[in-house]
Symmetry: C2
Subunit: 269 residues, 2 copies
Amino acid sequence: MGAAVWKLTLSYDGSQFAGWQVQPGRRTVQGELGAALARVTGEHTLPQGSGRTDAGVHALAQVASVSLRSPVPAANLERALNHALPAAIRVLAAEHAPAGFHARHAAVAKTYEYRLFRARICPPWLAPYVAAYTFPLALESLRQATGWITGTHDFRSFQTHDPDAASRTEPGRAPHSTVRTVFSAGWETPEPELLLFRVRGSGFLHHMVRNLVGTLLLVGRGQLAPDQLPTILGARARSSAGPTAPASGLWLHSVEYRITGPDGDPVLR
Amino acid sequence: MGAAVWKLTLSYDGSQFAGWQVQPGRRTVQGELGAALARVTGEHTLPQGSGRTDAGVHALAQVASVSLRSPVPAANLERALNHALPAAIRVLAAEHAPAGFHARHAAVAKTYEYRLFRARICPPWLAPYVAAYTFPLALESLRQATGWITGTHDFRSFQTHDPDAASRTEPGRAPHSTVRTVFSAGWETPEPELLLFRVRGSGFLHHMVRNLVGTLLLVGRGQLAPDQLPTILGARARSSAGPTAPASGLWLHSVEYRITGPDGDPVLR
């Protein structure tokens, strides 16, 4: 029997981990998931995430791929993993994936959310999951500036130097390319005290969403004009953009894949 | 200038503390609040809570009293304390209280909530703030049994032995009395996945709410008949009641005081 490839969909509370990627002596999501897989199947294997999330960054639906030899039914794998994992990580779905499926290589789009809490006093049980931001914001300027980032651009100005950048190179893309496509970006207020930035794109550079938010908030506060965004993009220099917004507000919302269906047609999900 | 008495209303995330009460070498709410008061006023004083909450138990609105010599305006005290405190504790209000006000002695009623999460997979960011409980429950039996606990009863069967019980004796009450009055108790489903027990009473014994919930859930599961509650109360023995529900689901909702108004009339709030 050969190995079967699995697609695991995961939620996690990033405040309890030193990020996604396994690190010696640190509690990481990838490390905990690997340990749970070993406990459940006896196989020592490292699941591959759609991308790394930094310490403090949360996931509503991160996706990981892993190859397993154990012939375990999908429902059992989900249940057994949730039993073995800490409550800060949940497996939402464990599904069989086509041979060769890789959560990072096969991703065609990702959506992130950034949650700003706007009231004066942030409830303690929300604090780990938002960034508190009480300064008045001009939403119209914020929206104007946000319009400039949709489309295909060189986002180098919004990339924080990544000591481990080589591992992020995606196939079919020049090494170290900082060109990405933002399909959509916008601001919502799902609750009066919550301001939410949602961005969907082909992929994101290191700290790109947090650097975009940090820069857009400068516009919202009136410290930067909305039409300076093209200048900042054109500068292709991190120093031209604003600060990095805190990790606590960032949520990986979802990852999309083009998977070939039973009839050979591509299925996006 | 004499000292002024303050009433502080606090929210906290109990999952981040070893309970309310100060303990050497442990991170506690009372300890953090005392340290913040010392940083803000230079005075070393221990605030008195309306009662102790155990490790893992949360507060929507705990009340503490403290006497301060520093002539600090109320709005400034609130702001300065929130600046000095960790995000897991927030001061919702800092108000002047009548001389002699004591958060524990003056409390006339307390309300607790117990939050059960009913869906199969509990989101990681809710896990510290609920008790996951997926067994099917007969709500009608649960409600019938709950009817038996309202009123004035000896709740000794629902008291866990408290090594520090002496410090809990309330004035005007016989030492070690286990008689309390439950003004109201009931179950709500504010969201489809959330089942909430809310109980308001004159005061609560050690672990009383958690032991009530643990026992009532046995009724909900059909392991105990609703009309066994009077027998359990009458037994006046911890062993006759059910298990202690987990701390994570318990929230101190509010504390009520009868405070004399400016015209001498009692004001309940």
